[in-house]
Amino acid sequence: MKLIKAIIKPERFEKVKKSLEDNNIFGMTVTEVKGRGDQKGITLQYRGGTMVVDLIPKIEIDIVVTDSESDKVVNLICEAARTGKIGDGRIFVLPVERSIKVRTGEELI
């Protein structure tokens, strides 16, 4: 199984969720985070100089899926989250060894 960790723009969250739903992906865990990428944030000009706003609010979506679904989910998120502007986000895929449903105790695979 894989853990897909997608960090996206908050304003694209609804669209990403919708796109996943349409493809029957429901399970997800969502966290409010802040982040910056390689462009080091946004630089604002003002009278007294410049100011770098480096930690911009983002939404992190964690989704655990079977290995076979992994690529599809990554692509879905990528497409729905893309605005083409900087700060669009990143997706990381991590290996998951076990996944257990608490209610039943059953091991998912």
């Binding site: 304003e11 694209r12 609804e14 630089t43 604002l44 003002y46 706003v53 911009i56």
Partner: protein, 404 residues
Amino acid sequence: MVIDSGATAWVLASTALVMIMTPGVGLFYGGLVRKKNVINMFALSFLAFALVSIQWVIFGYSLAFGQDVGGFIGNLSNAGLSLIGMGPAVVAGTEYPIPGLLYVMFQLVFATVALAIVTSGLAERAKLSGFILLALLWTTLVYDPLAHWVWGGGWSAALGSIDFAGGTVVHISSGFAALAIALVIGKRAGFGEHSIEPGNIPMVLLGAALLWFGWFGFNSGSAIAANGLASSALLVTNTAAASGALVWMVVSWMHGGKPSSLGIVSGAIAGLVAITPAAGYVTPISSIIIGGVAGALCYTIMLFRIRKGLDESLDAWAVHGMGGLWGAIATGIFAYSAVGGKDGLIHGNVQQFIANCAGAFAAVIYAFVVTLILALIIHKTIGLRVSEDEEYVGLDLSQHGERV
């Protein structure tokens, strides 16, 4: 006329009540915007308060209440509050049982809250320096003349149009100004594309509570007396608010939605706006109707605005502008001489109805057009809107270097 200490006590207290309405608007608007703009929205109200407080003392009061110039504006005879003292206030020929300086101060807090309401049209995208310039010009060129027309001995009063506590002066002016500004500066980034949700609803509710509270001073204090008229104004103010709240709630509920808390308080504000010009002229039962109609009307207009993709962001236009317009007309309809000495349409006085419509529509046009011109000029010169990046990051950080 001598100064009556009871009247003075009530107008002093009313001034405090109206004063708290400006931060009330700050909380109301601050809670409606996204988290990244809360501080800015609240700060704009403070700024509005501070700017007008100084402008009013230096020349604003004089423009509104100084010696009449052609029915349009006051002259600078009272600039720096010269000739105003601790003796009874004399305004446009009428003497009041309160000190002149208190009348100045009571009127001051009306001018501040009007400007605070205007910030709706700039929500989440106002450039601070541009706002400051607009604020000073707007209060001088829009608010002060309008106050003069209605209360300072101008043409509107001469025509016979009545506005007890500022439905036209405060609400029509600010509501239509907000609309004009929103049209000039354009939509917020992302408006209509993704949902823009209110960042702090309890803050909105608190703001609404302070507005309702302060409105008691706004309307009842406008009697400039502590008497039966002030009491009647208080009662109808509250009833209209309640009626507006319940009607907006019910209409939106039946409309297939849920009865949101924002709907309840928006309805209350709509009712308060609508009763403002009428507060000293109508009966309790009329106030239920006036407030209720305002609730339904402003809700409908808000939906219309959204449908049209118009980003007058916090609905100053729908609630204050259109609610104020309805109030002015309603005053012409429901005024009853047993309450405030004037009859309206339902008591057979067509004249009053016409005068009120004329006064209100003139204010609509004046406020809208002049604000449009002012906003355009500023927008094209020093700018009235922040850059795209600043808007994205949020005004709290980009304009104030602060964050919630």
